[in-house]
Amino acid sequence: MSQSTIAIPVFPGTNCEADVAHAVTLFGGIAKVLYHDETNLEGIDGVIIPGGFAHGDYLRTGAIARFSPIMPAIEKLSQKGVPILGVCNGFQILCEAKMLPGALQKNVGMKFICQETGLEVVSSSPITSRLSQGTRLTIPINHFEGNYTCDDSTYENLVKNNQIVLRYTDNPNGSRDSIAGICNERRNVVGLMPHPERASEEILGNSDGAEMLRSFMDAVVSSRMALPA
């Protein structure tokens, strides 16, 4: 099969696009960095919404970005089952866009946190298929607003449908039930606060994120096989 093409949307204020593109290339994909006014996603096999501060995170993180012209196109892909991953700011945007349930509030400590963080794999998803349940990983987080919040019925649904993908082992930001990452009911849209691309190479001192990104690239290949050509 030919290489998969991953779209990486850039909003004004996004800053992790080059990092994600680097990682996509590392794991065999073709990275296509697209400006947020792009509406044509033809030939795109998967999407990773990178981290950063779209629109400065003013008002609320992700609140303005989700209105960008590229977002309806991404939503359409997701309805076809194409794997969509939101990392950090990308997760916040997916929540604001209602492609994932819940919201991300300020960290309980009211401080920005950039540090290695322990995670536990809770369920299988496009980013955890190569990792068995219960696997412990160390991946950096980098956010002020990563405190996952939702109401009780949303939470019960998340649990019932196994939508919780990752939990912190030592909840650094006050997230409900230590949630670090979730997926949608269909399990093709995933959002997580930790940055696997920052932990994908030995030279950076940590490659725990590599299996996550490889899982994602696997999921993209499976989805391509499932989709009509």
Partner: protein, 755 residues
Amino acid sequence: MTATMENQTPLHRQLGLTDDELEAITQVLDSRAPNDLELAMFSVMWSEHCSYKSSRQYLKTFPTQGEHVLVGPGEGAGVIDIGDDMALAIRIESHNHPSAVEPYQGAATGVGGIIRDIFSMGARPIACLDSLRFGNLDDARTRYLTEGVVSGISGYGNAVGVPTIGGEVIFDKCYKGNPLVNVMALGVLPKSRLTLAKASGDGNLAVLLGSATGRDGIGGASVLASAGFDETSETKRPSVQVGDPFTEKKLIEACLELLESGLAVGVQDLGAAGISCATSETAAAGSMGIDVDIAKIHLRETGMTPAEIMISESQERMLAIVTPQNLDAVLGLAKKWEIDASVIGKVNNSQRFRIFRDGFDSEILADVPVGALGDGPEYNRPNIRDTQLDDRQKVDTNNILAEKFSNTKNFNNETLKVLAQPTIASKAWIYSQYDHQLFLQTVVKPGADASLIRVHGAKAGVGITVDGKGRWCALDPYHGAVAIAIEAIANLSCVGVVPKALVNNLNFGNPEHPEVMNTFSEVVRGTSDVCLASSTPVVGGNVSFYNESNGVNIDPTPVFGVVGTRESIEGKIPGVAFNEDDVLVLVEPMSAKSSGSGHVTLAGSELATMFDLRDGMAPVLDINSSLKTCDAIRKVSYDGVISAVHDISDGGLVTCLAEMSCASSIGFDVAIESNSETTLALFGEGPARFVIGVHQDDLAKVMKEFSDPAISATVIGRAGNDRCKIAHDSDLAVDLEVSEIKEIWSSALSQAIHQ
């Protein structure tokens, strides 16, 4: 801006200009008295902050040449070649006074300003480092300042998308009324994109990009930075600037695209003195003239006077000089990146800097020779060595402390107390608030001796550190500066990096005090000596005078940012953490071993400061053997034949070993023989000394690297187990559990902040 009737002080003096300076301005204007607008512009541009009028004659003496230097001091940033057609832009800047008034915004706008200097050269900003000085944390206002400054750097740097990959902080009572906030930034560019801020070409247009102009910082940074602090500082408050990292991020992308596509002749950031400075400087640099149409400047507030508009220091603005043919393309780019753009001026051959009220056929509001604003006065201020210094240097701090502890054999308590000092303790509370991993480049992260990054597109690794222990310079400005510069080089050598360029931020007190001028010139001399000996040219710097509160000057505090390279980033990089069973070796210049040399001393040390002993002589280094020692360390680190290395700096040998232990969670058993007292052996400070951890099998090979007679290498013990033990002359001086040390060292700073 206008003189009020009841205030009899003439306007020029209210604006901080002397009578002689007014006279000089009148001469520049061919015997015409300046009008209020002209006077306002001169007052800012001729301030100490903008004109370097007290420091220029000394700064000229720095060595600035080197084969790899592409741009030296004087431009937005220094630029050096790092191979593979890639270059690095480097710059350091202070934002001391704005941060004392409003810590969050002061620090934030400091980060924003330095980043603009970098991308104005065509370089993509890839890293910041911060160098901070505060009073002691037992004071509530100091805690507020510390938290505010750190969150300001975090809030701006993280959001603008430039990782803060290292820094340093010292808490000392001399900074209580006047904290220091220095920020260093690094950018990377293909050599072909190097752009200087020059407005050449008759008929070219000056385009103002970015935020609208408001009243913020009217004469802010420059006026604040050119006067000391006292009770009236409250009145300086209305000029606080607020940063907008989002707009800056868009400006970075727009300006880099502008330069990459060759659409701009030159780009200049707007810093102190705002539009006056940027327009007149770019025109002067290109030996041109420039006309500015003040009505075209987009404003955020109503009712602004021409003077307010011309000297406003609103943040996140850039000036691009473009040809008329490229104008549409430039405006299109601004639209794509959602930033405002307006054509505010026109370059011509007149050699004049003229300001028009509304259109180029309207009233001329100001008309001065184009270079006059940038060509401020130069002073040869009285320079006299402080007569008290000789007496203070005679005080034998080593002996005072030795006597204080003459009956002490066990130093567990002192060890724990030193490790708990906020200046010594882990700085994780600070750097965990900074994004330090963006761009997947940070190979050695904050927490080590120097940060090490890989530069995408280049083979070389880049090391960077910032150091500046003012206490040493307070004891002896020449030797203090030498010691600080060597300390920075020593830190780089731990990550296998050769120093290539130095930028300095010279934070001093009031230059009108002759002793301050003397410490200044001595610091410059010391710095130059190390730069020459180590082939590390000075490529940029910044001077911050008037760091005083209520008439008391801070310790002279030069801060050196040193950048260097290693040929390749591949291979094993030893960290601070040693391995179980490693042999521990103390490596130092032979000259540091003899106790009479004064290389290692308690004067200025953390231990002495804890007892408020502030006299004695700074470390006196033999520059050549110190550099040789650093060279040897660099080699073993680069070759990866050692497993760990850490330099002995603040807090002495005990602290160095304890930090290695905290990094690895492994203990050590060390015995030191020396003819000095235990206090000096354990807590004495003086740079270019290292502890390395070596696997037994590699020991012989490693020791060979230290065979130069100028270097001493002594096996002092082994790593292992869970206790930290140091015997001195057969007394067990320290015996503590790793976990206890680690607990205290890791948490002391955050506890001191949240007390």
